[in-house]
């Protein structure tokens, strides 16, 4: 695939057959306004300068590229590097997107910010930028996630956000997104909805990808400098797919680089208890986009299972669906058990505690690294830090803190 023929989304917001704008009529004008404003600001030098400045001074970019030497030695194969998004302010890649979107919201004159969150990282990243710009902030979070990610709930509250517990449906991320959409349709005049992944109706998949692409852009520079070439493989976990899209996108036309997305395999893809729509789903429409989904024959969305709240989502960003079908990106799955195992590995051997979401990417690297030559370079997007998961890991492993 060359640069010339990768120009997505197209004018209708599609990545091949995927994507689009499947929302109720009331939201169309807000999406059009967002699309229009976005097109304008990405041509606007002062806007781009402001984003850049915030990324440097508020987020702490660039994030380092770190050589996981002891883990590499233990695995005895390819060299493993970590792109340290966990070192960003608020502890994950999610802030790359919220820093940009809050400035967009201000351009559109919106006074109120809403967002959905699963792991709470996107909620915290949204609450932080809303606090900084003095905007009202409401975060929707499923009741089950509130329980398993409680430290982040309190962080959001400290940052001045209102956290709305969502008790409909499966009480997780997808239901939080439904509720955020309902709020948006009601308060569409003064509210901007900051979607937290490369999911939802156009133009969100594009906007969130673009704001997260800083990760891949930096990696290009860092790998040229450090290795004199690009990595052989880049691995990222995939929930909605924003950290993966962010690190993959600048490499899409560099065919020598293998791109691997890792979904949540839950109790195993064969068990049906997972959150891996690309590995074991079918095409449908949810949350404004056509994409791969976990659904039954009637088109009802299935409940998902993952130890990680941030991956516990039955859909995936439409660009990933397209990249899967074209074969440019390969999608795998890691189970709860494999993820927990890698969570401990990295914490013990490198002194870096990863988020459980991220641990899925680590788990796949652990599987393949030993079989690869030690000249090969793997970069893993270390999308977030794991402090938020401590209580949950303890609980899963039968301990109380």
């Amino acid at each position: 695939m060359s640069k010339e023929n990768y120009d997505f989304p197209d004018k209708d917001g599609r990545f091949g057959e995927f994507g689009g704008k499947y929302v109720s009529e009331t939201l169309i004008s807000a999406l059009d306004e967002l699309e229009h404003t976005y097109k304008k600001v990405i041509e606007d030098k002062s806007f781009l300068e402001e984003v850049k400045n915030d990324l440097e001074t508020f987020v702490g970019r660039p994030s380092p590229l770190y050589f996981a030497q002891r883990w590499t030695e233990n695995l005895g194969g390819a060299k493993i590097y970590l792109k340290r998004e966990d070192l960003n302010h608020t502890g994950a890649h999610k802030i790359n997107n919220t820093v940009g979107q809050v400035l967009l919201a201000k351009k559109m004159g919106k006074k109120r910010i809403i967002a959905e969150t699963g792991a709470g990282q996107h909620g915290v990243a949204t609450a932080a930028v809303a606090a900084r710009h003095g905007l009202e902030c409401i975060i929707f979070m499923g009741e089950e996630d509130i329980e398993r990610q409680s430290p982040n709930v309190y962080r959001m509250k400290l940052l001045g956000a209102t956290v709305c517990a969502v008790d409909s449906g499966t009480k997780t991320l997808k239901d939080a997104m439904n509720e955020a959409m309902r709020d948006w349709v009601t308060n569409v005049d003064d509210t901007h909805y900051i979607i937290g992944s490369v999911a939802g109706p156009h133009p969100y998949p594009q906007i969130v990808r673009d704001f997260n692409s800083i990760v891949g852009i930096e990696l290009k520079d860092q790998s040229r400098e450090l290795f004199g070439r690009y990595p052989d493989k880049i691995i990222a976990c995939v929930g909605g797919g924003s950290n993966a899209m962010g690190i993959f996108y600048p490499f899409l036309k560099d065919n020598s680089v293998d791109l691997i997305g890792v979904e949540a395999g839950g109790s195993g893809v064969e068990s049906g208890k997972h959150a891996a729509p690309l590995s074991d789903g079918s095409v449908g429409v949810l949350h404004g986009m056509k994409t791969y989904l976990m659904q039954d024959q009637e088109g009802q969305i299935l409940s998902t299972h993952s130890v990680s709240a941030g991956l516990d989502y039955p859909g995936v960003g439409p660009e990933h669906s397209y990249l899967k079908d074209t074969g440019r990106v390969v999608y795998e799955a890691a189970t709860d058990e494999e993820a927990l195992d890698s969570f401990h590995d990295l914490t013990k051997t490198e002194g870096i505690m990863p988020a459980l979401e991220t641990a899925h990417a680590l788990a796949f690297a652990k599987k393949i690294a030993p079989g690869l030559d030690n000249e090969e370079i793997i970069v893993i997007n270390l999308s977030g830090r794991g402090d938020k998961d401590m209580a949950n890991v303890a609980k899963v492993e039968g301990l109380t803190l």
Partner: protein, 266 residues
């Protein structure tokens, strides 16, 4: 002339407005939801919107969300809903039945959808999350089978879009009375009435108003500027009170809601 067109033509002759009900297939169960619809028809409801239960009904407020949840517990299929419609239709060929739901459920039947709609004599579809821009291909296939795609227009729809929507619509137009989910509090304003009147000037299609109409007084006011009103949450709330041995009482209560509303708009 389609059955929907005939209904509005007859109403117009008598200087009357349409009463349209929304209830969910399978709520509280498929059999009872059929009885509820039959009761609506015998009470003089003009058009029946049959809600298709979805796991993620994003546009619905609390009342109708609960209705979807109740219906989903019964594991009914879209095909069995259409078969129920056909049974009703065989007894009441002149009452339009319109399926209202979300895109993903309709997609589940793939290309069979269009033949099934025709074979089960469905008059129209309302797809909440299928806006104008995404619908071109779908619309052609529906119209080939003589099924109307009923379009929604909202308070945020721009003039430019309204013109495009009108150009590709059939059956009737559904004006969403408010910015919000179904069952929200509706405040009637001059703005709302003016807007409906403005749209009416641009089209020959009938326009009905829905979302938030719960009592005879609101129905009456909204019927002045439009060709009819849709009532949903109020009925679904009542259906939520269903108890197995008291089905008759439920239908009596629904009957009195309907006759009040009918009274309001006549």
């Amino acid at each position: 002339m389609s059955i929907i067109e005939k209904v509005f033509q007859n109403l117009k002759k008598e200087n009357k407005k349409a009463l349209i009900t929304y209830s969910i297939a399978g709520d509280p169960n498929l059999e009872s939801s059929e009885k509820i619809i039959r009761n609506f028809i015998s009470e003089g409801v003009d058009i029946i919107e049959v809600g298709i239960p979805f796991s993620d009904p994003m546009a619905e407020g609390p009342s109708i969300q609960l209705g979807h949840e109740r219906a989903l517990k019964n594991n009914i299929s879209l095909l069995s809903i259409m078969q129920m419609c056909l049974k009703i239709k065989n007894d009441h060929p002149n009452t339009p039945l319109v399926l209202m739901g979300y895109m993903n459920n309709f997609l589940s039947l793939k290309e069979n959808l269009f033949d099934e709609l025709k074979n089960n004599k469905i008059d129209g579809l309302i797809i909440v999350d299928l806006p104008y821009v995404e619908s071109e291909e779908f619309l052609k296939k529906l119209n080939d089978k003589g099924v109307d795609l009923i379009r929604l227009i909202s308070p945020t729809t721009t003039e430019e879009r309204i013109a495009k929507i009108l150009a590709s619509s059939s059956g009737y137009l559904y004006y969403i009375s408010l910015k919000g989910v179904t069952g929200s509090e509706l405040k009637i304003s001059n703005e709302l009435e003016n807007r409906v009147s403005e749209i009416k000037k641009q089209t020959k299609l009938p326009i009905v108003v829905g979302f938030g109409i719960k009592d005879a007084e609101t129905a009456r006011k909204m019927s002045f500027c439009s060709d009819g009103v849709v009532v949903g949450s109020k009925l679904v709330d009542e259906i939520g009170k269903f108890e197995p041995k008291k089905e008759n009482i439920l239908n009596q209560n629904l009957t009195s809601i309907i006759s009040e509303l009918k009274h309001g708009i006549s």
